[in-house]
Every structure is written in structure tokens, then in C-alpha cells.
Symmetry: C2
Subunit: 438 residues, 2 copies
């Protein structure tokens, strides 16, 4: 057997940040890795493959990297729309979480999220929540690559009733997570306004010791920045800097309101930034200065955020929104070109998460690959892959391979019972809101 | 036979602007019209129907109204992205149109657009282009309701080589269009900067005589407004007002840059406004003051614009962008709530186009109905129809009925050969750009 899987007759976009495409090529996978890429004209005639996928009419590209999610929050999808962030959080989301988050809820609702993500082209997710070991279990079952971060907050939290135990609980989470290249542990401190300096530093120290990523929501709203400045005399990003938390293993999520000096700081410290355009738009948090952060040399990826605030986990819609909104507010149609958005959603996102082995299609890289069906009215005609950003949607992704394993074929998920998962979440939803307006 | 079509077991959203839904209802159609709507509990047992559609797990709602399109421009989808408006228009789109627009091109490319629109839930389109009789033919064949407007411009145009003949050509267009409730004629003057006052007034006079709508692009960019003011001493909207062109049968498309006084004028004259958020974002034209126009009492619908600038014709994505972008730029999450966006895409859009008989589901109205499949991961759980705005996408629309006729069932278009249409456009695309970068 030469290859476990051989994809043929495909248009190949090996690096989403580059203009070049291979109009008709093949790609062979051995085990978890890409073993060969070439032009169909050069395909040896006597090749043996365990499985041949004819991708004629399709586009083969690196799977999408969702840099920020709270997968379990599918349960609260659309529960409370069109409300101010703090009303939404304090009067709806936090109470709903207090009543409904359980080990079982995290497992099933993360599984639903994983299904939605695979169905829309995501092959890696950076997730953060409580009972994160259950989310990790769901990701592993479906075959989704993940950086699964245990949530840390200085309040009683699901699974961590005593916040004095939150670092200990995080350490146990890391220790107990099954060792597996596909799903890696990380830590997620909720924010500078919900975690004390002591908690932040202890969490970062633990992350550094274990060589894992440290995530934090920061500068999401102008109110957060102003309040923090009033209470501490520093902005939240300056505060993180002062606590020595900013380095190349820290990922700052949102960064909607950094000052010019803070943009330079994000770039200079080498920390990663994840922008969540649709969540920031819908919650009216603002519009992150993505063009300025990119110009400063910061490393940026894209995330959907949890689908209580988005309300979906479709990365193709996220890059469409990202590319368009910055054009509109800057009155400059050349800002965030399509390929920049695609790169952020693939190779740059992978770098933010410290996953050097995914994000492009090259021999020796992990085989994290999606195949889109271009043979559809809304993708006809097809001049360049820029169209993926402006016209493709999650449902155009036909096939997904992660770490060399087929996880979706012809839009059918291969590793889970989708109906069972949807029914489990539907049942929990009835407990959240049994008497709908309808 | 009691009903030609009977839809059962559906969640019914009869008026997208209202909170109420009927959790489990039925809807009967006789001929072109809705004959009955009720709760399943009240469904008579001995009903006879030509065709029963069991919509269990689905949501039945009014079809979407795309208030602005240039359908034939599917040929130029993604031909030239991320460029300034005038570069895009003068160096790419106008030359491509000069070389490639023909009677045959308008027919096939409009047919492709119509297919894409029906597949994503649109049941009525307001279109404007040259050789519009060919677009009208394509719409009629697929069964899409349309206000099909012949384009008027003071330059040599496809089918109208001598601009001195443009009003005469428009009159012939109206006279020759087959009389049909489904596809109605209208006129579309390109803009105040491409049509002289004489042309504008002659076109409006003709539209008034024939009791049809008069469309015009206006105040799309700040450069347009400034140039017009410099050349004429008036803004484009003031100019239209001075020429007596603003009344309830005029539809102003874009209106990205109206002053406060002009917003009042748009409302007071009763003219319709179509906002095209994704086109305005992608071309960096700006963000129309939709919340202010609504507050002033103007009548607003939503359009996709042509897919050379968008690049798709998916109204569900358009309402998502509309609802989100105004929240982000106004830093107010309560602005343009989901239902306002849905109303603009249904009943308000119908009113802008003068189509009182569509836009809501009521007995006696035309049966223009779509059924969405809610039984999908990204729409689970489902608390309220607000989710349609923030999570649904075109591919969720399963079935479409227009004027009582089934035009799509289980995502299969019933009246056209889709493969033939896509192949025809694909062939034309090769002439537009035979040597791609790929």
C-alpha cells in the first residue's frame, strides 16, 4: 500500500495565504501525515491506495482553525439576543450557566458544537469552558483536533465550587487529560476583571511549567477598559504586561480596544491574538483594529466565540464578515484582502495555537484537509479562491480529514450519531426554557 | 379538491415582523393564493388536497424579497475583488460588460442567479439590467416573482448603442414584456451621475404613465455625493427632489450617504429605500444610516446587489450582516433587532416594490412560501425565529412555493435544468478570463 488515502482530480490550494493554486492535482496520505502532493499529469499509474477519493469539481485546502470557542454554549444558542453585553452576561448567560452547566451538558453540547464545526470546515478548535475534560472527550470522539482549555475564574464555577481551588482543579485537569496529539490541554483565565492578579500569575506559571497555552479574554469592550483603568490605574492589556503574562505562549482573545502602544506590545511580546468579528459585532462590543494589529506585526487568528453570542460556529461566514467589516469602517476596499482572511483562518491561526504541523498542505504536515464542492450555483463561475471568502458557506464543505482520519464524507459525520446528539441537546433545552413565546 | 397544496405539521411564522409563531399548524393553497391557515389541532379530518407536504421539523415563513439585484452579473462573480469602487467599475466591470453582455449572456446568467436565489429562499427579486426582457424570461421560466427593470444610462449600452434612444428602448421593453402577474416591468436609471436631468425626468414620466416603479442608485459613495455637489450645487438626493422624482413609486437604492435633511425627505416623499449592506461593505462604500432612516419613518427593504460586488445572492446572509454591522458601528446591541431585519426582508421589502399581495402569510395573499429545515446542528436548539437571522443560511431552505407553484422541493429546482444553466455560464466565463492565475 503506497497511501492510506489518495485524493485525485482536485483543485489544490495548499497555502491559503498564497495566490497559487494547483488546478488539477493529487494528494496522498500515510497514517496521520501528508506523504505526497503533485499534478495529476505526474500521478504514477501503478499507485496503491487504501482509499481513493475522486475530488473532481472540488477544492482541496487546509482545514479551518477556529481560534476561540466555548463549545458547550450551543445550549444557549439564541437564548437571549440583541441585549447589551453586561445584561446578556449577568441576567441571562451567567444564570443559565449556574443552573444548567453539568458534566453531561458539557459533553453533549460540545459534541453538537464539534459536529457543527466539522460540518462547516473546521478541523481544529481552541475551546475554553468548565468541565473541559468532557469537551475534550467529545472532540476526540468526533475526531476534531483541539486545544481544550480548562476555564479559570475567581467565582464559584461549574465543577469548581470553591474558587480557592481553581488552580488545583486546573492542574488536575491537565494531569488527567488522556495523552493524545489530537486533543491538547490548555488553560483559560476568563478575564482580568474576573481573575485576581494572584490567580492570573498562578495559572500562567502552571501553563508555562506544563508547556501549554494560556488564554484570556481581554479588552473586549470599552467599558471593561475604562473600568479597569479606573480601578487599577492601568488598562487590562497593560495590567497583563505588568504581571508578566504576555509572551509567545499567551493568547489574547478579542482585543477590540487596544491603544496604539498596546498594539505594539501585543506584537513585541509575540503573544497571539484571536479576533472574533461576528461576536464583537452582535454584542456591539466594537470592531477590533485588525488592520493595525496586522501592520504592527502581531500574529492573528480568527474565532467564532461561543454560539450564545454569534450564533453559529461557521468559520467561512466569520472570514466573510472579517474581510467586509474592516473595508466598510475604514472606507478602504483593499483592507483585509480575501487571502489575508483565509490565511488568518488557516496557517496564522495554527501558529497562534502553537500547532506548527497544521494550517498548510505540505509533505510531512498533519493531514488536516477539507474538500469543498465548487459545483454549485453560488460558486459559479469560479475565477479565484478569493470566492471562498465572499460566497462559500459551511454547507459547501463536503469532506473532512483530520490527522489522516476521514471524519466527514459527503456531509455525513462518520464518528458520531448526530441524531442522538441533537436529541440530547434538544432535551436539555426544554429544561432551560420550557415555555417559549411560541 | 379542497386545496391544491396542503402544508402540515409546520412551525408557522406568518409575519416575520411579529413575535408570534404558530408552533404546529397547517396552510392550504388554492391556485395562486393562501386559502387557509390554522392549528393542526383544528385540521378537518376529511380534507382533500392535490398535494400534501409534511413540514414536520420545518419552519414555514414568507419567502424573502431581494430588493436589489443585477442578476446577469453572476458572470462577473469574483472577477475583481478588493478594489476601490471606481477602479472596480471603470477598469473591470464596465469593460467586461462592454465585451461580454449579450442577449444570450443576460438570459443564462440571470437564470443562474434565479437558481441561486430560489435555492437560498428568495421568492421575489427586483432586478435591473440591460436586455432585461431576457432576465424576465429566465425569472418566468424558473417561477421566480420579479420586478424586472430595464436599465437606462446616457452611455452606449448593451442593446441600446445610441443613448439618445434609451427612453424609446425602455418604452419598447415595457410594451413587449409578456403580461404576467409574476414578472412585472419597471425602469432603472443607473444614477444621477450617469443620467442627465432630461433622461431622468423622461424615464420617470414614462414610469408614471405606465404605473410602474422607477429605480435609481443614489448616494452610494461619499465621492459621488461630493462630486455631485461640486458640479450641481446640490447633493444627488436633493437633485432628484428638485427634478420631482421622489414619490411613492420611486425606489432609491443604496442611500449610504444621506444627510439628516435628506433622510427626512426620503421619509416624507414616501419613496422606498433599498439598503445593500454586504455590497456597501465589500466595496467600502460605507454603512448606510439604516437605524436613522427607520426612525424617520422611511420604508426600507434589503437587497443583495449584483454578485460582482457581494459576491452571492443569499438574503439570509444579508440580513445577518445588516443586523450585526449596525450594532457594531453604533456600539448598541439593541439596534436593528433580528425581527426588524426579517421584516425588512419580507413585508417591508414587498411594500417598497408595491407588491401588497406578498410578504406575509395571510388568507387571500399570494402563496409565496419557503420551508426551512430546522433539524440541523447549527439551528439546534431553536428558541425563537430570531435564530434565522443569526444562524440560518441559504442552504437551510428546503422547499419554495411561489404564486402557489412548487419551484423547489427538497432543494431540487423543479422548473430548470440546473446543470445545463451552470455549464452555459461556465462556458461564457472562459471567454471572460481564459488564463487564470491558477
Amino acid at each position: 500500500m503506497d497511501y492510506d488515502i489518495l485524493i485525485t482530480n482536485a483543485m489544490l490550494l495548499t497555502d491559503a495565504g498564497q495566490k497559487e493554486v494547483l488546478p488539477r492535482g493529487f494528494l496522498g496520505i500515510q497514517g496521520r501525515k501528508i506523504a505526497v502532493i503533485g499534478r495529476m499529469a505526474d500521478l504514477p499509474t501503478n499507485l496503491k491506495a487504501g482509499r481513493i477519493i475522486d475530488a473532481a469539481g472540488g477544492l482541496v485546502m487546509p482545514g479551518l482553525i477556529n481560534g476561540h470557542c466555548h463549545a458547550a454554549m450551543t445550549l444557549f444558542r439564541g437564548l437571549a439576543d440583541d441585549l447589551p453585553l453586561m445584561t446578556w452576561l449577568n441576567e441571562h448567560i451567567f444564570p443559565a450557566e449556574a443552573s444548567h452547566v453539568s458534566r453531561e451538558m458539557v459533553y453533549w453540547c460540545s459534541k453538537l458544537a464539534a459536529a457543527e464545526m466539522v460540518l462547516s470546515g473546521t478541523t481544529t478548535v481552541a475551546d475554553g469552558y468548565f468541565f473541559e475534560e468532557e469537551a475534550a472527550r467529545a472532540f476526540r470522539e468526533i475526531g476534531l483536533r483541539a486545544v481544550a482549555a480548562q476555564g479559570i475564574i475567581d467565582f464559584p464555577a461549574p465543577g469548581v465550587p470553591d474558587p480557592a481551588e481553581n488552580i488545583k482543579a486546573a492542574e488536575q485537569y491537565i494531569d488527567n487529560l488522556p495523552s493524545d496529539d489530537l486533543v491538547r490541554p490548555a488553560l483559560f483565565c476568563h478575564s482580568p476583571y474576573t481573575c485576581s492578579p494572584v490567580t492570573l500569575q498562578a495559572a500562567k506559571r502552571l501553563a508555562t511549567e506544563r508547556h501549554i497555552k494560556f488564554f484570556i479574554h481581554v479588552a473586549e469592550t470599552s467599558a471593561e477598559v475604562e473600568t479597569h483603568r479606573r480601578q487599577h490605574g492601568l488598562s487590562p492589556i497593560q495590567h497583563l504586561r505588568q504581571l508578566n503574562l504576555l509572551d509567545e505562549n499567551t493568547v489574547c482573545v478579542h482585543c477590540v480596544w487596544p491603544s496604539a502602544a498596546e498594539i505594539a506590545l501585543l506584537a513585541d511580546t509575540g503573544c497571539g491574538v484571536i479576533t472574533c468579528p461576528e461576536s464583537n459585532m452582535k454584542l456591539a462590543s466594537g470592531i477590533a483594529p485588525v488592520p493595525k494589529m496586522l501592520a504592527a506585526g502581531a500574529l492573528l487568528g480568527i474565532g467564532t466565540d461561543g454560539c450564545a453570542s454569534n450564533n453559529d460556529l461557521d468559520m467561512l461566514q466569520e472570514i466573510d464578515s472579517l474581510a467586509k467589516i474592516h473595508k466598510a469602517v475604514n472606507l478602504d476596499p483593499t483592507i483585509i484582502p480575501a487571502r489575508t482572511a483565509l490565511k488568518m483562518a488557516t496557517s496564522s491561526g495554527a501558529m497562534v495555537l502553537g500547532l506548527d504541523e497544521v494550517g498548510t498542505l505540505r509533505v510531512g504536515m498533519q493531514a488536516d484537509i477539507i474538500i469543498l464542492d465548487l459545483n454549485q450555483p453560488h460558486l459559479t463561475p469560479f475565477y479565484t479562491p478569493d470566492l471562498l471568502v465572499y460566497a462559500a458557506r459551511g454547507s459547501d464543505v463536503k469532506t473532512s480529514i483530520i490527522a489522516g482520519q476521514l471524519v466527514m464524507e459527503n456531509r455525513k459525520l462518520l464518528n458520531i450519531d448526530l441524531a442522538e446528539t441533537m436529541a440530547a441537546v434538544q432535551k436539555m433545552r426544554e429544561a432551560v426554557n420550557p415555555s417559549l413565546e411560541m
